[in-house]
Amino acid sequence: MNPFDRRQFLQLAGIGGAVFVSGLSGAARGADGASNFSAEDFFFVQLSDSHWGFEGPPNPDAHGTLPKAVAAVNALSQAPDFVIFTGDLTHTTDDPRERRKRLAEFKAIVDELKVKDVKFIPGEHDASLDDGKAFKEFFGPTHYTFEHKGVHFIVLDNVSDPSAQLGEAQLAWLADDLKKQAKDARIVVFAHRPLFDLYPQWDWATRDGAKAVALLMPYDNVTVFYGHIHQEHHQMTGHIAHHSAKSLIFALPVAASQPKRTPLPWDPAKPYAGLGFREVEADPKNTTYAITELPVQKA
């Protein structure tokens, strides 16, 4: 099943959430209506903010939600090329031993993914209290790059510093990496926190994120995927699209919609409402990405 038909199937089957198509306008089909699926098309899955270790009323199935999400990814009719978790894998704890226990438990659950190319980035809950030390023991570097089928991926760490800064060293590293890229290179950036001031009143920002965005702006084809805010959100900074992901533990309110940034309550009539993950499809003929939001489990 080619990716375009698969997306339609998901919608028809009532499984998929809203499809966000960034300017594709049916570009997946050629002038004669035939599929343009090529070997370089691919898709990946983004999951975020599982907060393994959290317990409380906002999610009475805190122990079951992540396994259900893993099962949902495994049940996709087409396997993604890779899976990425964009931070807050675990819920914070002051106890370094408990932190490592949670990271180990999280890893054991996600090891059940059939896709074996799985990438991780930390969130502040994983890394801010120990400069990412425990995260690195389990998952390696907190910022890195990789290539996949013509796309240059950059992972930024805006959480190991508890003051939510990338820092001058990492910004210099980013600048050096970008110098090696063509101006029209297809670049995807992963971060945990928003790189722009989405709503600093709720800590939805990166203190020096504007410097990273400024480094990225000269490049024509940059898209950012991130987490942290526990909801789907789409915003542009100039020509750069930023897409935040839903969480796998509890949803958070829309910015400024209520006085405090408290979790949205669990609705027993609509379990897992507001939670989910997404497929992101890359097509070399288009510089933007087709995003399909998917629920933790079918309704």
Partner: protein, 111 residues
């Protein structure tokens, strides 16, 4: 004598007005609240916020006025603010400090 006394009092008042210090409001940043959690200021009034953090490093961030300060245990951090508009404005801790960090916020009420 009376004129001299009046002049002296007037001079004293002028000196007092010239050297009047901003109102100081002491704020403690502790896990996981600011004490006081509400700070009341008049529009146009300059106040000096004096912060202490008895436990771990924290931050005070008043995003609506683009003001922030780091609060480090053992040191008093100060921040002068002169709000130029009325309203209720959120401030929060912007240095991750533990499990209750996300609840650590307060309100600046400007009237």
């Amino acid at each position: 004598m009376a004129a001299t006394a009046a002049l002296a009092l007037g001079s004293a008042a002028a000196v007092t007005a010239a050297t009047r210090q901003p109102r100081v409001i002491k704020v403690v940043a502790k896990k996981f609240e600011f004490v006081p959690g509400e700070i009341h200021v008049r529009k146009g009034e300059t106040v000096t916020l004096q912060f202490t953090a008895p436990e771990v490093p924290m931050g005070f961030n008043l995003a609506d006025f683009k003001l922030r300060v780091d609060i480090v245990p053992g040191k008093v951090a100060t921040l002068d603010i002169t709000p130029d508009r009325t309203g209720t404005f959120t401030f929060l801790c912007d240095v991750f400090c533990g499990t209750g960090h996300e609840e650590m916020s307060g309100a600046l009420v400007v009237t």
